[in-house]
Amino acid sequence: MARSVSIQRKIGMTILAWSVGLLIFFPILWTFLTSFKSELQAISIPPVFVDFHWTLENYRTIQTQSNYLHFMMNSIYLSLGSTVLGLIFAIPAAWAMAFSPTERTKDILLWMLSTKMLPAVGVLIPIYLLFVRFGLLDSRLGLIVVLFLINLPIIVWMLYTYFKEIPGEILEAARMDGAGLAKEIVHVLAPMAVPGIASTILLNVILSWNEAFWTLNLTTSNAAPLTQFIASFSSPQGNFYAKLSAASMLAIAPILIVGWFSQKQLVRGLTFGAVK
């Protein structure tokens, strides 16, 4: 008796949870479906869900007319470039903070967090003018540096919380065995730090990929990533829902997949380790 009640409850919960999940996911699902429709089917009244003539035409058009690959490559360059640069600066810093903490380590960490609270418009004007002066406007290099700097605090924090979990005794034991600093890092620390570093890379790639203040203000075409590519669809020209949908799917699919794999680490990274 009790068992059938609990199964009934579970079925009820299943219906409710799936309804809520599908409602939240609906705009993405709808975009996905629309991307395979013809422009006329995309605006048909009443809307068609699945029984339309599926076509890949929109994806072809997007590549030939809008040069999707150019923007996609820029997104890849920017997110990987800023991530690599971030790791080069953040790994030593987080390592030092985790294993040789001083009384000022906490202050430095909090100060780094506070730089994230500086609104971007407060520094937009000078960065824009400096970029004009040094010919960095619409250049990949300039944008990589900016993305690296805005995400550096998050990378340091995230690595710090991971490194702190590596027991210090292991390092001491290695030192007692006569391992030098280089050996200590390569043989002892690196293998234990790899999962944390991998999560940090994933999160930083997601954040850089979707960054839409600096990428929109500092690029026009040459270094423009996918955020800018999609923004060019903001002034509608005729029937364009199907093409907009195909472009949107192409822009979000890579990061949606990366994101789904790294959802656990996301909580940790974005809360500066405050919620695990």
């Binding site: 705009p27 407060g122 923004a231």
Partner: protein
Amino acid sequence: MATLHTKTAARAMMAPAVIVLLIWMAVPLAMTLYFSTLNYTLYNPISQPFVGFDNYSYFLADPTFLAALVNTLVLVVGVLAITVIGGILVALLLDQDFYGVNIVRLLVIAPFFVMPTVAALVWKNMMMNPVYGVIGQFLTAIGLTPIDWMTEVPLLSIIIIVAWQWLPFATLILLTSLQSLSADQKEAAEMDGAGALSIFWYITLPHMSRAITVVILIQTIFLLSIFAEILVTTQGGPGSQSTNITYLVAQQATSYGDIGAASAGGIVAVVLANIVAIFLVRLIGKNLDA
């Protein structure tokens, strides 16, 4: 000797990260402060006379500024209200036992990975368009008159779009916190005859308070600088009905070329963000000590 050596090494390892961040913060901020005292427009780049606080009085006296300030606050508070309350409800739902938990989790989290320009354009056209949008068609089908979201309720439209993007973040963090609540505590309360509602109010909600604080703090930082969603949907309009401070400042610089006024606006935005930051850091500090 060894500790001295380690300390020097540690400092050397921290220095590059600290120095680049310091430069990134201090140099542009000092330049913004300097520009904000000049009569500096892109159309007359030769002469930039010093004007003291004129840019500030110009910016602050502009009726658009007051509108933008109110819009910024409404935007932040509106999105926070929807995402925190909605996030708690969805987290409670995902914490239940049902078939396909993992798939539903993926569905709920997905909007967070959608880049702002995509989210805004998909909502503006395919959801909120009064004729062809899904919402409009649904309202027509049940006999109601669809509204033109972007012109009739521009700020609400942006709140909905941004809330959709941030609901997954709130849900994910609140769910993580919810799952660390021990079952014993709930069972004990149940044995004492506590109802589901009082368990939620006296046990679950206090347990989640720290996570809720974190959600509010982090979202506020990002929500104060909403930009892309406004740029590709309403462009701040109609009039200035959906202009926030970030959009107003960027517009002063890129559309009107008024570097002086834009810089003054930037400094105002920094001051506002600091007020919020101090308030929130205290709040989170209290919570961390507890």
